[in-house]
């Protein structure tokens, strides 16, 4: 069932076509894909009117890519990440994660998919306050059914990586915001997921901690992880290889940024300016369409 990312090849298929996901997808298109979204729509019914949080999003993300998704508040970034992360189900459309079609899966299989393939980093950390840093990092490994010795070594290695091994018995409330976010990063990467999803990981942090967290994201990328990072901050988006712009539930821009990619360490202060005014600097078709609203 689980194929290595490199082997998975995904096709642009017409939604009506009924295909056995992996094999057919691999056969039709010659591209590797970690994530394939196809005409994903998410509609919230609010009384009489419908809110189109996602309005027909199609997207391919390759293994080892570092993708930033940027857009103004309410544009549908989080909704998109929740779809990719199988935390929510789309109103219509199909999607594949690492060759597995999420749109066809049952509750328990989605839980296993999240557990084995995905690592989440949330803006609000989402750590369990009653558990220590170590126990938080260990939790996904418990649900994975790993034996204790294995869990311990993986969790300690992950905490080591984020530089918090000495704080592993602290409760989240005994840690700073930046440290808590590092614990949540350790939790996301402990199970060696295929894909790391980060929704505004620096949103609740001061700029210094933000820089630290971004440095960690770069390190993870260099180690070969696929990363999807959501932000409304252009200076952060510019650190990614690829910048996808979203507005009103639609993708309005998709730019290869690998030439201009900035490391976390060398972000100039000017880059911390308002994303909207800097948006024009982005090359490519309709970069942040209608930004001057």
């Amino acid at each position: 069932m689980v194929a290595a990312p490199e082997e998975v090849q995904v096709a642009a298929v017409t939604p009506e076509e009924e295909i056995p996901a992996e094999a057919a997808v691999r056969a039709v298109l010659g591209v590797n894909a970690m994530i394939v979204l196809e005409d994903i729509k998410k509609i919230y019914k609010m009384g009489d009117s419908d809110v189109h949080a996602l309005d027909g999003v199609s997207l391919h993300i390759k293994p080892h890519e570092f993708v930033a998704i940027i857009g103004p508040s309410g544009s549908g970034k989080s909704t998109l990440m929740n779809m990719i992360g199988c935390l929510d189900v789309p109103t219509s459309g199909r999607y594949w994660i690492d060759g597995i079609e999420g749109s066809k899966m049952k509750d328990n299989d989605l839980a296993d998919l999240r557990n084995k393939k995905l690592g989440f980093i949330f803006q609000q950390y989402n750590l369990l306050s009653k558990l220590s840093a170590f126990e938080n990092v260990e939790l996904p490994l418990i649900y994975k059914g790993l034996p204790m010795v294995k869990r311990r070594s993986l969790a300690e290695a992950a905490l080591d990586k984020v530089g918090l091994r000495d704080k592993m018995n602290h409760k989240p409330t005994e840690l700073s915001g930046g440290q808590q976010q590092r614990v949540s990063i350790a939790r996301a990467l402990a199970g060696k997921p295929a894909l790391i999803l980060a929704d505004e990981p620096t949103g609740a942090l001061d700029s210094k901690s933000g820089v630290e967290i971004m440095q960690m994201m770069h390190d993870l990328h260099e180690e070969g992880n696929t990363i999807v990072l959501i932000t409304h901050d252009l200076s952060i988006a510019k650190q990614a290889q690829r910048i996808i712009t979203i507005r009103d539930g639609k993708i309005t821009g998709d730019v290869d940024n690998s030439a201009d990619q900035q490391g976390a360490g060398n972000v100039k202060p000017s880059a911390l300016d308002d994303a909207e005014t800097k948006a024009a600097e982005l090359k490519g078709p309709s970069a942040i369409g209608g930004a001057a609203e």
Partner: protein, 393 residues
């Protein structure tokens, strides 16, 4: 694999219980109160029943009373001779018989005199009436036959008439006649006026002459409780035949009295159990409230757990174990507390007997309530989309 999953869920549940002491304590409180009150109240009910039963057993459930209700001097009374021959003819039914009469004479010693309750009977009454002589002796067949003026007294008589000194060998006057005190009973009550110790016993032969009264009551004694009912019915038949009527007398036994009293105390116990089950239900509602609130409080936690890969069953087994442990622990504390309070009540002089079937019943009930109300809201939360659970505040 199954076991290690269970072990993990168990560990997680324990962490959650210990990590939320206030909430855990509140949840248990409902069960503790419910279980304890069932145990205490049914204990008191059971104690009352036991007290009544014990008192009657003490009086003797092996005893049959034949009583002439038309007055002892009526010509339609059964004769002593008939009763004696019944005893001789029916050894398989009855083993002892004593004529009996009672009076309230004035008893005098020196200048002091009191009114006490007098029993007049045969020697067999020492056993039929379950009497224990502590000092001296009970009167003998010879003394009964010769209408001797001898008496056995209770400890109240000793206190009042003999200044607390053992009266055996002394004498006193009953309605003016001089009697020798040949024995004194063991204290059965508290040696006060009107208590079980305020009594005096003399041979029935002496009494019929002293009070010029005929015997109106006979006590029969059976060796086994099993023959009490049969002997009662047979005596009824016998006396009816002798008198030519079934009126003017009554044959009764303690067993039938015990039955009707048991019925009464049974109603009392049922009433107390009813009140107790109300408190158990109220306790259950308490658990339900706490569990419902804590699950909605914990919806976010459930969302986080689901986001990082917990299956619905993982969440449910954690909550199930949590509520089993909490209600089980609450039940055990409730049992201990209930039994202790029962002991305290007993120590304060009220009777209390722990009803073990109620202990088991209330424990099982509280466990069921805890598990049901612990699981139902968790089930709802575990089925949420992870993102909806995560968004909840």
């Amino acid at each position: 694999m199954m076991f290690s999953k269970f072990k993990q869920s168990f560990k997680m549940a324990m962490k959650s219980i210990v990590g939320n002491k206030g909430r855990s304590a509140l949840t248990m409180l409902g069960i503790v109160i419910g279980v304890a009150s069932v145990i205490i109240l049914t204990g008191i009910g059971g104690g009352a029943t036991k007290e009544v039963t014990d008192t009657i057993s003490e009086m003797g459930t092996n005893r049959i009373t034949v009583m002439m209700t038309r007055g002892a001097n009526s010509s339609r009374s059964i004769r002593l001779k008939d009763m004696q021959s019944y005893l001789e003819d029916n050894p398989e039914l009855v083993s002892m018989m004593s004529p009996y009469l009672t009076a309230q004479p004035t008893v005098k010693q020196g200048t002091k005199n009191i009114v006490t309750s007098l029993d007049a009977c045969d020697t067999s009454y020492e056993q039929i009436g379950n009497l224990t002589v502590e000092s001296g002796r009970f009167f003998s067949d010879y003394e009964v036959e010769k209408r001797k003026k001898v008496c056995v007294v209770g400890t109240y008589i000793m206190q009042e008439l003999f200044g607390g000194v053992d009266p055996v060998g002394q004498s006193l006057k009953i309605n003016g006649s001089l009697f020798e005190v040949i024995g004194m009973y063991e204290e059965s009550d508290d040696s006060t006026e009107g208590s079980g110790d305020d009594k005096i016993t003399i041979p029935y032969t002496t009494a019929t002459r002293l009070f010029s009264q005929n015997i109106n009551t006979y006590y029969f004694y059976t060796d086994s409780e099993d023959t009490v009912v049969a002997a009662t019915n047979d005596l009824n038949r016998y006396i009816t035949a002798k008198l030519g009527t079934d009126e003017g007398f009554r044959v009764s036994n303690m067993l039938s009295l015990l039955d009707s009293l048991n019925e009464m105390t049974g109603v009392l116990t049922a009433m107390l159990a009813g009140i107790a089950s109300i408190s158990l239900v109220v306790g259950g509602i308490g658990i339900m409230n706490i569990m419902t609130v804590s699950v909605s409080e914990r919806t976010r936690e459930i969302g986080i757990r689901k986001a990082i890969g917990a299956r619905t069953t993982d969440i449910l087994s954690q909550f199930l174990i949590e509520s089993v442990v909490l209600s089980g622990l609450g039940g055990v504390i409730g049992i201990v507390f209930g039994i202790l309070v029962g002991k305290l009540v007993a120590a304060l002089g009220m009777s209390s007997a722990t009803q073990w079937n109620m202990v088991v019943l209330s424990f099982v009930f509280s466990l069921a309530v805890g598990v049901f109300f612990g699981l139902a809201p968790a089930k709802k939360a575990a089925k949420l989309n992870p993102i909806d659970a995560l968004r909840s505040e």
